[in-house]
Symmetry: C2
Subunit: 326 residues, 2 copies
């Protein structure tokens, strides 16, 4: 297996990309990595030549504030476009980037291409929940939702969950109430499509406050509200941690007790850390494309590489195609 | 000041309503309360006659799963409709309920009536933030958003924040990125309206992960994504607390240390507890209408009564009318 990596994407590129890659190939002897980016900067963090890490040099990059489509169309020798081409031209099996999200999406669409039958690919992160993981999609690939996209997300998410070992995944529609009649026009229309599609194990609406409760394995929503949900999760978790800290460090006594609970509090932080899942899969394009957080550290990037490997090994793209043919 | 209370609305009615009212009048000597509901059930929790708590008896109620508009139109002697009439017919100054949200909204619209110039009233809870409180609206009064509604929310929210002591409140648009061009069609259109309205101190987009950071005093959004945001906050806070608990109670040692930190952890819980703010104001109707959580305890209901008093004392309705005339 070969993973093509945009080595220049993250806020701390290429350090986190290189360090993540080194840790990853160390643990996965059957994987090779192609780092695409500035060879001089990359070699600051990598003893070259490396047995299973190749560098494809380019000095062009796509910045985080560039207009995505234009960047993909015009910057043919950027690290992102060149790494994507490694995959589209079959020299690599998966693509991982921590760069410009919009450009990664545009690259997925125009370089990897959509799977036949899928109009809009979806960003689909995996979340920890009270009874195991769940997938939520779309969390921002498409801002303006349509009911038929949500139906496609349900099929994509089901295939994804199945490859992660969940049998007959339960699909819920993110909504503002559990009753069938709840929500805006988009939700009402999507509800009907989901209910009438025999290839979807639709369990009805899931309220946003219940997403962690394990009622559904796959939660579908439009990219706008999905992105709001994702970021509110991040914001709230951060706020709660801050309030916790303020309270725990309010006196000398509590500081000492907190110090003695260091291990337990670290365990908590780990369970909640987005860096543990490493990135979101862009599902619905012809090859695994993982978008890692721009502020990823090397551990988060390592986890994104791990996810790309799992997606390859599980033959997700093939599974999706099978599902769409049914 | 007289507050009309739907005494039969909450999951534990009328106990929490009566207990909340008793605590409230005890602390606020200049306030009278009218409890509308089943006098026999109410008197189980109230020594009658009470100096400043009156009962208006009715045995009809509106259930939490009833069709809201129909219930308001047909159940003329329900506790909710009768309490609302106390306000619309000027025998009371504010209305508080923990009952059916949809019915409370319909009652607000059809019994209290909209303020001239406001097409859609908004549910507008107050949240704790890192640098003080902020108001988010709408969080679910209207599912299908329009840009002009969001503009009206900005005016309503600004007036509300001003009456709470915030000078020239900063208004942010909840969005999936900070740049002007971000978001769906609704957001783009709303951005323009907000930017061009001289009566709004618009600071641009606020990402959902930053709502607690204090960049804006008022955050406007459509009712669907606002409701998702609100409930994701609840769900995430609950999930984080559960993970914290699991970790802190993982061994005997950590259990003992946690016990010694009881006070600090309680302080944390208090800072995050929705019961502290008590309820959401339905802003944009002709009188203060507070919707408390259906699962409120008596402390939460007491806080909802407190909020209704503050809104009255601050002359919010008059302030809104002034603002709309400018």
């Amino acid at each position: 297996m070969i993973i093509a990596v945009d080595a220049m994407g993250s806020d701390h590129a290429p350090q986190v990309e290189v360090e993540g890659a080194l840790k990853f190939v160390e643990e996965n002897k059957n994987v090779e990595i192609v780092l695409v980016g500035d060879s001089k900067k990359i070699s600051e963090y990598l003893n070259f030549p490396h047995e299973r890490i190749k560098i494809i040099h380019t000095s062009e990059t796509i910045g985080s504030d560039e207009e995505p489509l234009k960047a993909i169309k015009t910057k043919k020798t950027s690290s992102m476009v060149m790494a994507l081409k490694e995959v589209s031209e079959k020299r690599a099996d998966a693509f991982v980037t921590a760069g410009n999200t919009g450009a990664a999406l545009a690259g997925g669409l125009f370089i990897l291409g959509r799977i036949k039958g899928i109009e809009r690919p979806a960003l689909s992160p995996i979340f920890p929940g009270e009874k195991g993981e769940f997938i939520m999609l779309d969390i921002g690939a498409t801002s303006d939702g349509k009911a038929k996209y949500l139906e496609q997300y349900a099929l994509l998410g089901s295939a994804y969950a199945e490859t992660r070992g969940i049998n007959n995944p339960r699909v819920g529609l993110l909504n503002i109430g559990v009753e069938e009649t709840k929500g805006d026009e988009l939700r009402k229309e999507a509800y009907e499509l989901l209910q009438n599609n025999k290839n979807i194990n639709f369990i009805g609406n899931v309220e946003a406050r219940d997403i962690f409760k394990g009622y559904a394995d796959v939660i579908v929503t439009d990219g706008f509200s999905g992105n709001v949900a994702l970021k509110v999760i991040e914001g709230t978790a951060g706020f709660v941690m801050q309030v916790l800290k303020t309270n725990l460090l309010s006196s000398l006594k509590s500081k000492i007790l907190t110090f003695l609970l260091k291990k337990e509090l670290k365990g908590m932080k780990k369970s909640l850390d987005y860096r543990e899942t490493g990135g979101s899969l862009l599902i619905g394009v012809n090859a695994p494309l993982i978008k890692a957080h721009g502020s990823s550290n090397s551990y988060a990037f390592y986890n994104a590489l791990k996810l790309s490997k799992t997606v390859c090994e599980n033959n997700l793209i093939e599974k999706i195609k099978e599902k769409l043919e049914n």
